[in-house]
Amino acid sequence: MTRPAAVTGGVLLVLGLAVFLWKAVGLGMPVLPTDPLGLWQVELEINARGSGGRGSLRAALPSSDLSQTIFDERSVSDGLLFSIRSAGGQRTGVWSGTFSRTHQVLYTFRVQLAQTTVLLPKGAGQPPPPALRRDFGGPTAEFPTGAGEILARLDWLSLPPAEEAAARVAALYSFVADEVATEPNAGDDVLLTLSQREGSALGKARLLVTMLRAAGFPSRLASGLQLRDGLAPVQRVWAEAWLDGAWVPMSPSDAFFATRPQDLLLLREGGDVLVEATGVEAELHRFHALRERLRPEELATLMVPTNPLLAKVSLYRLPVPTQGALRILLVLPIGVLVTALYRNVIGIQTFGTFLPVLIALALRGTTLGRGLTMIAFVIVLGVIGRLALERLRLLLVPRLAILLCVVVLTVTGLALTGRALVERDLYAGVLFPMVILTGLIERFSIAMAEVGLREALLKAANSTLIAVTVYPLFISETLQHVMFTYPELVISIMGLLVWIGGYTGYRISDLRRFRTFAGAASGAR
């Protein structure tokens, strides 16, 4: 290595590390995950299919309150227009546009949950404002407060007097929670639930709301998710009664009263529907939740750094979609660093310089097994295609184009027979990998013509090997977190690349290739 290269590499490496250390040690920014309690990352995934018509998806979005702090929201809109509407404290995410295919919408946020208990008033408490009475007190089709059965039941319960508001609410809660069985498959109609003495969680919540309203307490449904580590979140619905200036949560099916459990996330107040769709043919949504490994105040130091210069350049304050893209982009330098090591230090031959890294990116969107199957398929197709098309004596470009058509037809066939390929995002699962595989099939076909099947297979295997090595780095949340928090590390990676570029020593492949020199040093003595 020349002196200037060694020095340049060293300066870059130290520069990146210095900024990193200044931020991590000097400013106390977190480097590694710290595993806080009650902090979650939640993702709503909506898949909606349409055939060219305009439509929209609406999802209840969480708001911050005493029990939950929402932050770091981001959305992947998949070609749709995304906006957030706010009405009466409830936020609704709207994705609208033309649905000509299966669109996948992702809405992700972080939430710090805390168990909270609402202090119940000793006496009657302040009376509810008229607006609340109007909106959450009256009868509706959903909550038939005027029905004879409801009124009769209230009479029969002989509630405590109006001065003991909390006791009245508790008595109503106890009745629905204890006297009505929870049966997931039972109906959710209020009067049926009451007469059958059993109902679904929704039926019981509706019954409680109806009885609370009939007893003079403004009340409403609330719904959200029960978050579970390592498992899919469960949708929950409960009731809220307005008492002395606060909404008191209570669930007659999950047995909590005036206390919101730490694993419960509130998404919607005033209803039980979390996601609605219009103008689409089919809609399927699910929630994912992951325990977060970094404390919110640590996240805050990253989002609003104390240093004024850093505050201006904090990636955590960029628009949410940009952040999502950068999280992936900033791991790429590590991928190319690995590729440079493989090629210039080990000496492995691959297709193209960065095709392996692109393959790894494509694997990120497909999952490893399916991605490798696709690569194997393309290579087998390349071999068969060459054998079959050789007799026709076609020119290179049309021949490659024909192979690509066969790939497209096969993907189409797979999509028709099994839904495995398009189950997830069509773009991430099929289109992006297709672009990469197109590159692979071209390189592979040319290599077969140029250097023969054996060498071409070897190169394909090497390219796949590098891709599989890089893949875990690309899906590592920790690595993404570190690179996103400390993008200056890219400068250090550049320093390492200068060193690799200036490395004039032997490659591992040289050692193998010149094995005939083995013993040269000792033989001379």
């Binding site: 210039n344 000496g347 004596r393 020119l395 290179l396 470009v397 040319i446 013509a449 140029e450 250097v451 200036g502 490395y503 004039t504 020593g505 032997y506 490659r507 492949s509 040289d510 050692l511 193998r512 290739r513 010149f514 094995r515 005939t516 020199f517 083995a518 013993g519 040269a520 040093a521 000792s522 033989g523 001379a524």
Partner: protein, 319 residues
């Protein structure tokens, strides 16, 4: 261990070749002089350096009609891309058998096969960077009788590494059945290192491993006298002068009729020549850098290269 052995022998690694020699001594702008065989031919003809005769050129698919007419009058020839890499895309036709031609390796080809191959060449299938290329047809060279016993189904060629106009190392590449008559080491040809002073082979490898006998003819490949080796070194040096490149591999074939002719020049010559010689390039290249003087004539430079090679001989074989 092997690491230390390589350092001791002064073996040039690929990283070092790229940074210290090809990047340092070969100006990018001069690459077409050697990457395009038609340009190389023009340079050699202008300087009176012998080359195989050019019989036909097809630059476009349209010119394939014309090529058909010329090929049909020929008995033996070589069809190759002007900018091919690693000897890919070269078809050697030995003789005519009725309506078809016998290709080296034993396959019979019809005129359509040949034109299809030429079309692939023009499309850039074998070009270094996949760019459109030119198909050229050359006179087929004839195997020199002295080399008959160490060649199989093809014509051997001599690779001479010339650094700053001074020949530093040489090997002869002997085709085998495995290499289908081609003289490329990675395709299974034998590489036999040549002592620059005597023109005799001193060591040989097949697929990076030492070898003593030709696998097809079962004749010894070490101790073979390369015919007209002085002339080989001379035209290698002269062709390098024409190219303007500082670090170069010249490929020279000794034809039975014309003697040594320049087949092609290579701006990124492979490193296996060191294994073929069991000698490292580094000490010789360092010696060239130390002893190089401007204005040396061709004969003086050949003599200097021989002296440097003599001072930096192959490693002792392991006992």
């Amino acid at each position: 261990m092997i690491w230390r052995d390589l350092r001791f022998a002064g073996v040039l690694g690929i990283n070092s070749r790229n940074s210290s020699y090809t990047l340092r001594w070969n100006r990018r702008a001069l690459y077409p002089h050697v990457d395009d065989k038609l340009v190389t031919k023009q340079l050699c003809v202008a300087a009176g350096i012998p080359i195989p005769r050019l019989l036909a050129v097809a630059r476009t698919h349209f010119e394939l009609r014309e090529l058909r007419g010329i090929l049909e009058t020929l008995d033996s020839f070589v069809l190759k891309p002007a900018r091919g890499a690693l000897g890919n895309g070269i078809v050697v036709v030995l003789e005519r058998q009725g309506e078809r031609w016998l290709r080296s390796g034993g396959r019979l080809l019809g005129i359509e096969d040949l034109l299809y191959h030429a079309a692939g060449v023009i499309s850039g299938l074998y070009a270094l960077a996949g760019q459109p290329d030119v198909a050229m047809v050359e006179e087929r060279l004839e195997l020199h009788p002295d080399l008959h016993r160490v060649s199989f189904e093809g014509v051997p060629d001599c690779r001479v590494i010339v650094f700053r106009g001074i020949p530093v190392m040489s090997m002869i590449r002997l085709p085998t059945h495995r290499s289908a008559g081609r003289a490329n080491l990675h395709q299974g040809a034998i590489g036999a290192g040549i002592d620059l002073g005597s023109g005799r082979t001193v060591h040989a490898i097949l697929h990076d491993a030492p070898v003593r006998l030709h696998p097809d003819t079962e004749e010894p490949v070490v101790g073979v006298q390369v015919p007209q080796f002085d002339r080989i070194l001379e035209i290698a040096v002269r062709a390098t002068d024409q190219s303007g490149l500082g670090y170069l591999g010249a490929d020279i074939v000794v034809d039975a009729r014309y003697g040594p002719v320049v087949l092609e020049l290579n701006a990124r010559p492979g490193l296996s020549i060191q294994a073929a010689n069991r000698a490292g390039l580094v000490p010789r290249l360092d010696a060239v850098n130390a002893q190089w003087r401007p204005g040396l004539g061709v004969a003086e430079r050949v003599a200097l290269g021989r002296a440097i090679a003599l001072a930096n001989p192959p490693c002792e074989a392991r006992s």
